[in-house]
Subunit: 327 residues, 2 copies
């Protein structure tokens, strides 16, 4: 089986590569060829029993999507996107990469299928940014998508395209709306959501972290391991069970920042909690206030997608996957 | 004020032209220039106190949208689209006309505004085809858009673009989701929805009409006069009242085919009703079964949009507007 990951150099892309390299039959059939694509050349997995190849390629570039699809991969994970802040700052780039790049991929698959029958499984990384406030207390599976960012708009449009191309039989698509991923590995970044991870990851490594919001801020989380699990499950599941509504809000954990901190205390002790420095930031507070806080992700759960149910679990997964099991 | 109607040769476009020609201050300011655009050259209004101009132009053609926007109209009604059946039969044409044409218009406005401040009012004709079954008993304003046709997908995507371009300040957009328009004037056509109008219009003119479904079929209606009223209201209303959710399901009448027929009897007598010939058509029955039947269009009503509340009213409007007030 030939598997392609577009956006393989990003955080979730890299973790998905690791998982598939460690477990080459994770998708139900042995992977014979793993193609890794990103705008910067991705790193091939160190230990992998089959063949992997890497490409630096911009999906929105002339002929880029056609080049990828010509090899007729059986499964394509499409995780490539520029992030919310950049799509907001650069209108043209956001639409070019996040909308036109995705549409070019879908179109290339359709064209390839017109030459000779070809209906690959496409797993598209969408986002809860397709939703815009005001929200109900829990966002259900039938709540409308009224994004308040260009990034969310681009994701919502790609979801619609994915559904129509699937309905037409051009490919077999699933859109995966990811929760905020926590604990993100790596150095603190400037994303407005960064603190959710920083206040766990840094204290667990004995370092200080800044908390810019109050402890009663609620948000929607899943671990990087769960995120990879969503993509793997979407690639191997029986899609007849989904029906025509192809975009799924993934399960997650709705939790308060205060609950994050309590879990940190239980897992790593009061000393770790003491490394969190409160430094209220009204700008970040305002941005975060516009984000969804809770979902009833019933459809995805019924379809077998699973995520963490406590922050203790999220923290333990970080310790296992990033810190060699020890703090 | 300079007003442009794109799609001016269509049924609603022609009626909108008539209304603006008869009432040149309908939009709150006197119209000095009325520009009529369609893929076939529209007919200029016979009696109009100001200047009108007509263009045959394909919005999706190279430079087409830029040509229109260069004149910097204050209000643009965008009604141009290929219909549902054609968009389903010709995938490429549907996306080119209904999506790329609309996006080209929005983009041309943004580019024009980058040269010199320009934020026209854009009224976009959307459709209840953005919804796909299964439906709740009444579709509320927060129900999600999961179209089951390429046409509905294209309309839903344009709605998202309209909202994002409006949020960014590139123009002041409103999307109008039209009910099925009844009574459509003119000859019977082959649209699957045609019979809803045929069974009224033809008997009112002393002719036979075919009813291909049962009398207990429910559907969602408004008159052509109401449709024009929606567009006029959208062009002159205070859009600050709408907020960021710019696409509105228009009010309408939810009624059974049997109720249509009863109203025909009340207005035109048993002889007219006797001209309806039952000829069940399983294909049309199946298509119609997938359509929405009822909405709770609260937001639009609160924003001042109005439609008929009985089929007697819809029939009387047809008699007034199309039959010179007499049957």
């Amino acid at each position: 089986m030939h598997v392609m990951i577009i956006g393989a150099a990003g955080m979730i892309g890299r973790k998905l590569v690791e998982r598939l390299a460690a477990e080459p039959d994770a998708l139900g059939h042995a992977i014979a060829l793993l193609t890794l694509v990103d705008v910067v050349e991705p790193v091939a997995p160190a230990a992998f029993s089959a063949i992997s190849e890497t490409f630096a390629l911009d999906l929105a570039s002339e002929g880029g999507a056609e080049r990828l699809v010509a090899a007729r991969p059986d499964v394509i994970f499409h995780l490539a996107a520029i992030v919310s802040g950049e799509a907001e700052a650069d209108f043209d780039k956001g639409y070019r990469v996040n909308l036109d790049g995705t549409r070019a991929l879908f179109e290339a698959i359709r064209q390839e299928g017109q030459r000779e029958r070809y209906t690959p499984r496409i797993i598209f990384a969408s986002s809860i940014a397709v939703f815009g406030q005001p929200f109900p207390e829990k966002i259900g599976d039938e709540f409308f998508t009224t994004p308040l960012t260009s990034y969310g708009t681009q994701k919502a449009i790609c979801e619609l395209l994915l559904t129509d191309y699937t309905r037409r039989g051009f490919f077999d698509g699933i859109g995966i709306r990811l929760p905020t991923i926590c604990v993100r590995p790596g150095a603190p970044n400037k994303a407005a959501s960064g603190f959710f991870s920083n206040i766990l990851r840094e204290p667990l490594a004995g370092k200080e972290a800044v908390l810019p919001v109050d402890e009663d801020v609620r948000h929607w989380f899943a671990s990087p391991r769960s995120a990879v699990g969503f993509f793997v499950h979407a690639a191997r599941m029986d899609t007849d069970r989904i029906g025509p509504r192809r975009n799924l809000t993934m399960p997650g954990l709705s939790a308060l920042v205060g609950e994050e901190i309590e879990a940190l205390g239980r897992v790593a002790g009061a000393k770790a909690v003491g490394l969190i420095r409160r430094e209220p930031d009204p700008v970040i507070r305002a941005i975060v206030a516009g984000w969804p806080t809770n979902f009833d992700a019933r459809r995805a759960r019924e379809l077998g997608f699973t995520a963490e149910t406590s922050f203790d679990e999220i923290i333990r997964i970080h310790i296992e996957d990033e810190l060699g099991g020890k703090i």
